[in-house]
């Protein structure tokens, strides 16, 4: 469902903020904000990337620790904004 989002976000984070790091160390549940990987500037870079890549728009109040603290959470948030993910989620439920 949102694997494409997870993959893209992971690749973006690795290339943009963690060059040279072992990709295996960055899992879907690695804490990004509380782990010090994403600060406010980096979070906004991720926001811009996702908005451009997946044609979604975020609201300011959505950019917080709850939604952006892991790749998993980011993908879940993006999923609520993409109609195809939304539909898939409903049909699989």
């Amino acid at each position: 469902m949102s694997d494409d989002v997870k993959t893209a976000v992971k690749e973006f984070i690795l290339s943009e903020f963690l060059p040279g790091e072992d990709p295996a160390e960055l899992t879907d549940s690695t804490p990004l904000i509380s782990g010090g990987i994403l600060d406010s500037i980096a979070t906004l870079k991720v926001v811009l990337f996702i908005e451009e890549q997946f044609n979604v728009t975020f609201e300011a109040h959505e950019v917080d620790r709850e939604n952006f603290d892991s790749i998993e959470n980011i993908a879940r948030l993006v999923g609520t904004k993409r109609p195809q993910d939304h539909d898939q989620a409903r049909s699989s439920a």
């Binding site: 160390e25 990004l32 300011a60």
Partner: protein
């Protein structure tokens, strides 16, 4: 054994996280044992206040019950405990007012009205509260509740409304009320800005033992910060006027910044205590001394504030502005955050202290820090910053880069912090003249202090280079009983070090250093500021001496009904003012009557009647009898007893004329002496009350800066020699006079004694201690030497309060003048001393008696 926690095993959460909460009996006992130790340490070192100790006891006892309650009852129980904490600290009546006002504010948030209408209603209520806080409208509740009410609602209401507007999940009443009235808040006007969403989301979302143990760790860390703060506060802080050389300057800059340990200590403790009740909140501070850039500093210090700013101001501003380009949006949003930070600090100040804060240092500090963060942010946007997922091998490059950046950041922040905390821009600029004076000018500070930033840089570099890395983010590790070892050992060590029988074994030097750490008394500088407050009738509180402010904040608005200023009139000249003749006031402590000569005394004729032995008593407010009624001053009591018990021999009558004037410092007593000499005294009693040398210098500095003529050649010569001139910045003037403190006092004492002897008057010097513990007596030895050198008859009342409960013999904690009981002690003891030294003091008795007559000059 797992304790039964009904309904807790798999309670589903709206965010998908399951609440847990169960804990084995063994682990619970381990936590409770640490809390017991922590309580002993809090008591041993009198951490914060007596109210805080009571609150901690309530919290720890409450935890024992809370931890075994079914999960569904825990939040209501925490709320009940929080309300009990408010009542415990503020009392039932004040607590009820506070909760009542809070319920109105929270209630409006949930009215079934449009969001905009609710906001308008809230603004209306807040406007009324603002008017009451500013004393524009009367308030039926005590002043004492304002700082706590402010700390509970001034920021949390903003966050709560923000989340209320954007959240779909319903808010439960107990969670909402627990958020606003949360337990430790009743003791802390400065409280971390806790995010409501985090407060709600992280509730019991981890293993309960891990949560509790983390809480204990953080509270222990908080205690360590608070004790380190005390060490800095007592032993390292310097007044700007005490900065003479580069080493002094380094000590001044470092100690100013290190005083922030109190805030980080309190915040660690507060959040640690919340962990005991399942609120797994983020860290409030993260090794902020080790910041390697200004953005890093902003991210590490007061993290909750930074998160609050990001959520409510930065992201909304950025999203609105990004149509102008991401870089422009980033810059403008960052500047907006610093503008709001400045504004909200002034807003916070208003709620805590009731006055408007508008000082240039604040504005410039936030502007400079904002500009530095913007520049740093732009650099990071372009070049990024290094992040690591896992530990790597030692890297000299990483070590040297981070060390250098951290040392530079630390140095700039120290300098910027000193600017923020300075009394004025001129005072701050004058500090830097110390650089040019060389290390020879230092007063005891070690030049090695200049190496502290390098050491901090090296430590940060070592951590970044692989010497102390944490596990990778999110890495799971076993969490067991052994996690309790470090806090237990720390607490045990603190407990042992704090035992008097043990630390005195290490010799008097170590004991002298440890003893003050066991209490939250005022530092040398704050004590001096308190003293200065009495003399100048001002609250000498700047924005950062928070302990002194806490003392003053307990003072009722109309304490004593009348202040020093109302008793005095401005006369200009060297003395500056005098008591208003024939002034009568009624105070809470009885009548205050000033006679026609401007003495706080009965009426006397100018010339003593034949056979009268007359004493002129000189001194400040303690002598004048501040805070006691007419007839209760030690002067009045002593005079009455001397006459009552005089026997057949000696003079027909004793008269003691009280020339004490509140706020008079030693040089001003020269003016009082001139006045007293006109009343024909046989003896002059000069009462010294502590800090005589520095108080003398303060007066001379003020006089010289104002360009007032100094009518005493020896004092004028000292001022000229020190190079103090009209219009000079206060810190600079005080610094220049510092080497002359003893000379100034010697000149004052010498003149008083000489003038007396020249007229056949006996000069008597009486040392009267202050009614407080602490460092006020540090200048006493040189004061005694000066009095002896001047040739006074010395009467030392230094132990007059020995064995007394100081709290019971002074007016109040914020006004440490002797009360009526203390005046009785002084009168009794002074009477005995005078009898013991009768031959020397009453040398003129024979002459007075031979002058004959029993007529009294007293007008009854």
């Amino acid at each position: 054994m797992e304790l039964a926690v009904p309904g807790s095993a798999a309670a589903p959460r709206t965010n998908g996280v399951k609440e847990t909460g169960g804990i084995s009996a063994t682990r619970l006992l381990v936590v409770l044992a640490q809390l017991g130790l922590l309580m002993l340490v809090l008591r041993q070192f009198q951490i914060e206040s007596a109210a805080f100790l009571r609150l901690s006891l309530l919290a720890f006892a409450g935890f024992a019950l809370h931890a075994v309650l079914p999960l569904r009852y825990r939040l209501p129980f925490f709320l009940a405990l929080s309300l009990a904490g408010i009542a415990l600290v503020l009392g039932l009546e004040h607590g009820a007012w506070l909760v009542g006002i809070g319920l109105v504010l929270v209630g409006i948030c949930h009215l079934p009205l449009a969001f905009g209408t609710r906001i308008a209603l809230l603004l209306g209520v807040v406007t009324v509260l603002v008017a009451q806080r500013a004393s524009l409208l009367p308030a039926p509740w005590s002043e004492a509740i304002w700082p706590i009410l402010g700390s509970m609602f001034m920021f949390r209401l903003i966050i709560y409304l923000y989340d209320l507007r954007h959240e779909t999940a319903p808010a439960s009443p107990s969670r909402t009320l627990a958020y606003f009235f949360m337990l430790p808040n009743a003791c802390f006007p400065l409280f971390p800005v806790i995010d409501y969403k985090t407060f709600r989301r992280n509730y019991f979302d981890e293993d309960a033992y891990k949560t509790y143990q983390t809480g204990v760790d953080w509270m222990v860390r908080g205690v360590v910060h608070l004790l380190l703060y005390r060490i800095v506060y007592y032993y390292f802080t310097l007044a700007p006027a005490e900065v003479h050389g580069p080493g002094d300057l380094a000590q001044y800059l470092l100690s100013n910044f290190l005083l922030y340990l109190r805030v980080s200590g309190q915040f660690h403790f507060i959040v640690g205590m919340l962990y005991l009740f399942g609120f797994r909140l983020p860290e409030t501070h993260n090794k902020y001394f080790f910041a390697s850039s200004f953005t890093d500093f902003w991210r590490r210090i007061n993290i909750y504030w930074k998160d609050f700013m990001l959520k409510v101001f930065y992201y909304p501003a950025y999203f609105r502005l990004r149509r102008y380009g991401t870089t422009a949006a980033l810059v403008l949003a960052t500047l907006f955050v610093f503008l709001m930070t400045w504004f909200l600090h002034a807003y916070q100040w208003f709620w805590l202290r009731g006055t408007v804060l508008f000082v240039w240092q604040d504005i410039l500090f936030w502007t400079i820090l904002g500009a530095l963060v913007v520049v740093n942010s732009l650099y990071e946007v372009k070049h990024g910053r290094e992040r690591k997922l896992a530990a790597t091998g030692w890297s000299w490059r990483a070590f040297s880069t981070v060390s250098l950046k951290t040392a530079l950041t630390f140095t700039v922040i120290c300098a910027l912090w000193s600017f923020w905390t300075a009394d004025s821009l001129d005072a701050w600029l004058s500090l830097w003249s110390a650089v040019g004076r060389g290390f020879a000018a230092d007063h005891g500070a070690s030049p090695f202090l200049l190496l502290v930033p390098i050491a901090i840089g090296a430590a940060a570099g070592a951590m970044a280079a692989g010497g102390g890395r944490k596990p990778r983010p999110g890495a799971k590790r076993a969490f067991g009983i052994r996690e309790a070892v470090q806090p237990t050992v720390t607490l045990g060590l603190l407990l042992v070090v704090g035992i008097e029988g043990i630390y005195t074994q290490f010799g008097p030097t170590i004991a002298t250093y440890i003893q003050p750490l066991r209490s939250g008394q005022l530092s040398r500088l704050d004590n001096a500021a308190l003293d200065r407050g009495y003399y100048e009738d001002l609250l000498r509180v700047n924005r950062f001496n928070s302990q002194l402010w806490e003392v003053y904040s307990q003072k009722p608005k109309n304490f004593l009904d009348v202040n020093f200023g109302a008793l005095k009139r401005h006369t200009g000249g060297f003395a500056g003012g005098e008591l208003i003749p024939s002034f009568v006031a009624s105070t809470e402590y009885g009548p205050v009557t000033i006679n026609r000569w401007g003495m706080r005394d009965q009426d006397y004729e100018r010339v003593p009647a034949p056979g009268t032995f007359r004493v002129a008593l000189l001194g400040p407010s303690n002598v004048m009898g501040w805070g006691v009624g007419d007839g209760e001053t030690f002067e009045a009591l002593l005079e009455e007893r001397l006459n009552r018990e005089r026997g057949g021999a000696g003079p027909a009558r004793y008269e003691i004329l009280n020339f004490g004037v509140p706020g008079y410092r030693p040089p001003q007593q020269l003016v009082a002496l001139e006045k007293a000499l006109g009343f024909g005294p046989h003896a002059v009693f000069y009462v010294a009350v502590g800090r005589e040398p520095s108080q003398s210098a303060l007066h001379l500095a003020a006089i010289a800066r104002a360009g007032t003529a100094i009518p005493y050649p020896e004092l004028a010569a000292i001022v000229a020699k020190a190079g103090v001139a009209q219009g000079m910045e206060e810190t600079e003037a005080r610094r220049r006079l510092q080497p002359f403190h003893d000379d100034i006092l010697a000149a004052v004492y010498g003149r008083i004694a000489d003038e007396c002897r020249r007229r056949g008057i006996v000069p008597v010097w009486i040392f009267l201690p202050q009614v407080r513990e602490g460092t006020w007596q540090e200048e006493t030895p040189q004061t005694v030497r000066a009095a002896e050198a001047a040739g006074f008859v010395i009467i030392d009342l230094g132990d007059v309060y020995q064995g007394q409960d100081l709290g019971a013999i002074r007016l109040a904690e914020w006004d440490q003048h002797p009360n009526a009981r203390a005046h009785r002690l002084i009168a009794g003891r002074l009477y005995e001393e005078l009898q013991a030294k009768r031959g020397a003091v009453f040398a003129g008795e024979g002459a007075a008696a031979r002058a004959g007559g029993t007529a009294t000059s007293r007008k009854e």
